[in-house]
Amino acid sequence: MIKKYFTILLILLISLHVSAQVWVVPAENEGKKSPFAFSDSTRKAGADIYVSNCKSCHGDPGKNNVIQLVPIPPDPASAKMQANSDGALQYKLIQGRGTMPSFKNTLAPTDLWRVISYIRGFNEKYVQEIAKNTTGNVGSLQNSQIVLTWISESHQIQATVSGLKDKTIQPVSGAEVKLFAQRYFGNLLIDEARNTDAHGAAAFNFPIDLPGDSAGFVKLIARLSNEEAFGEVKTESNMSIGVPTYRAPLNEQRAMWNVLEKTPIWLMLAYILTVLGAWAFIVYVILQIRAISKAGSKT
């Protein structure tokens, strides 16, 4: 019954978003390929990502225990899923549709490829084609890296990108950088994607009201967008630039949901007094039975 309800609701919802059942992937995305070769280690990393992000809907691959949504999320091992090209899978993961969420900001590009490598692990016939120029580093620039610095006057984060050329460190210009702040559920894009200037620098305006942890620390993640060209280049940095926020854990105070030792006082008193009160009378009555017996011996 409830399923019928959900079905109707979902059909309504989804028909608003999706006009056609076929999920069209633009030609340029169709042909995209992973910058790295799929291996046991990428599949293993992909499996972890899959369990925490996809399994709740898509189930265990090959077991066909997907959640009954409409349209049904295909089992990763199914022919339907595997019929997608690598690029199509990447596109669908980035875009999302209906109840299938978009993982654009939640998963890093490399993680997307990792989970795709995991999905491909269920297809014996699959033969991978790797993107060209994907030795991980492009052209003469090697080992690109990002350094984040805090500019307090302008309340900005500056990302400086550099790489090795002829064994000297040189700035990388014109590279697109994205900056994220890690939140509970996924990463929050800070400002917008920026291109580095001639000095390899890009500045991001940092919000003045972003909550940090109790000491104000925010975990920042910066990433180069064009992985096909640069390989995975990212950096993480913890900076005390957020608003210090202390949220008392829910189990800190006495509460109904807490452990026995943290029972609310009023409840403890009410319970103990009631129980003692009732049992005091019961014990008294039991003693009366003794009194009866004694009274009987008198005569």
Binding site: M1, L260, Y271, A278, F281, I282, I292, S293, A295
Partner: protein, 448 residues
């Protein structure tokens, strides 16, 4: 209950004849052996079923992720409900001063003791790892209604047992010399349990005071026991349980089930023990009136419980209610409402149907319906979680009680019947001294 007992009745000839009537069936008879044999053998089957569950766990039941409270919990609510009648009859009606409840009071108390005692066991039947039962006491949180329930069931059982036992003491003393026809060990038991009772005025005074305390104490306890049972459901947000009238609704429903159980037992005692002098048609007539009264109040609560949400039909409630009114559970729902409530009310309004046999039949139907009523309260709600549970096979979304589960449930009922049989067969079912005292009083009034 009188605050003072005139012990003159002890010298009355009447006492001898009353005691003879009531004590005659006491002891082991052939019928008793056959009946207990039948119960015992059936129970063996049920114990075997429990052995299977003990060995394999709850997977042998129909309980799964969606419906995790099934027959067992419905059965638990039924047991607690039925046991509540002890308080209604001996305490509420007795304290108000209704004389007619005197011969019935012990029957009601026997039901209270048997059903409250087994209620605890019923809960254990719902545990997949019963050997972890002590954890409830070691690690239980007093924030949890489950702990309140455990506490209050135990307290109620203690009070009910005392309420059964205390007025039995003078009877045991009276019976001591009069049960030569019974086995020695039973006579010995009477000797011990009658705690040196000599019918002294002082003893009566102590007894009456203790009784009075218990009769008052049992009222809040009984209210608590079933209100807390209702809270196990009502403190959740789920449609069908999320109700502010659940406490009184359960309480009144309990009186219906309990009164029916008392009538059934009265009928058995009256016909098998030839005690129609004490359990007269008048008593059945009064119990009929009581049953119709509590049924009408219960009907009123039912109307509130179903009509008010049905008028609003909030999304989640609507799913639940449609299921009950016209859906999967409609047959059960309407049978229970009609056979367990509406038709009995109509019939019992007529004196004709308040005769012993008719009352027995009606009460049996009412009692069976009240078991299914508990099933309807417990199970259908769980069919509709607010969020679908993930990764469950389709078969886990529907509840299909298994044979093992049914046998275990049946076994708990057998156990209650066994306790009742033992109490009824080995001890006087009708308070001898109170009967004698009453006759004595009425003799006096007619003489004067």
């Amino acid at each position: 209950m009188a605050s003072e007992v005139n012990t003159d009745f002890l010298n009355n000839k009447k006492l001898d004849s009353i005691a003879a009537d009531i004590l005659k069936p006491v002891g082991i008879s052939q019928g008793f052996i056959i009946w207990m044999g039948f119960l015992g053998i059936s129970l063996m089957g049920c114990i075997y079923a429990y052995y299977i569950q003990w060995d394999k766990g709850l997977i042998v039941t129909g309980l799964r992720d969606y419906i995790s409270w099934g027959m067992y919990i419905a059965n638990f609510v039924f047991f607690v409900a039925t046991s509540l009648v002890g308080m209604l009859i001996s305490s509420v009606l007795g304290l108000i001063g209704f004389k007619w409840v005197k011969p019935i009071a012990r029957i009601a108390e026997i039901i209270a003791v048997a059903f409250a005692a087994i209620a605890g066991l019923v809960i254990v039947s719902d545990m997949g790892r019963p050997e972890r039962l002590p954890y409830v006491f070691l690690h239980g949180r007093i924030q949890s209604p489950i702990i309140w329930d455990v506490t209050v069931v135990t307290t109620y059982l203690a009070i009910s047992t005392l309420l059964y036992f205390l007025p039995l003491i003078p009877d045991l003393a009276i019976a001591k010399g009069r049960i030569g026809h019974t086995p020695k060990w039973l006579q010995k038991t009477y000797e011990i349990l009658s705690v040196n009772w000599k019918h002294t005025p002082e003893q009566y005074a102590i007894l009456l005071k203790a009784m009075r305390i218990l009769l008052i104490l049992i009222i809040p306890t009984a209210f608590a026991i079933h209100t807390v049972t209702s809270w196990l459901f009502a403190v959740t947000l789920r449609p069908g349980w999320d109700s502010s009238i659940f406490g009184p609704y359960f309480l009144v429903g309990a009186f219906v089930a309990g009164s029916a159980a008392v009538v059934i037992m009265m009928y058995f005692v009256r016909t098998n023990y030839k005690l129609d002098k004490y359990l007269t048609t008048h008593h059945f007539d009064m119990m009929g009136k009581l049953l119709v009264l509590v049924s009408i109040v219960y009907l009123y609560f039912n109307i509130n419980e179903y009509l008010v949400p049905a008028f609003k039909m909030k999304t989640a409630d609507a799913v639940h209610l449609t299921d009950l009114f016209v859906g999967e559970y409609a047959w059960m729902f309407w049978s229970v409402q009609l056979l367990g409530l509406i038709i009995p009310i109509i019939l019992l309004l007529f004196r004709f149907f308040r005769k012993p046999f008719a009352m027995f039949v009606i009460s049996t139907v009412v009692l069976i319906a009240s078991w299914f009523k508990r099933f309807l309260i417990v199970v259908p709600t769980q069919d509709h979680p607010f969020l679908p549970i993930q990764h469950v096979p389709k078969a886990w979304m529907v509840y299909q009680p298994t044979i093992v589960e049914t046998a275990i449930t049946f076994g708990t009922i057998l156990l209650a019947v066994i306790i009742i049989t033992i109490l009824v067969k080995f001890f006087p079912v009708i308070p001898i001294w109170e009967m004698a005292e009453e006759h004595h009083e009425s003799d006096h009034t007619t003489q004067e």
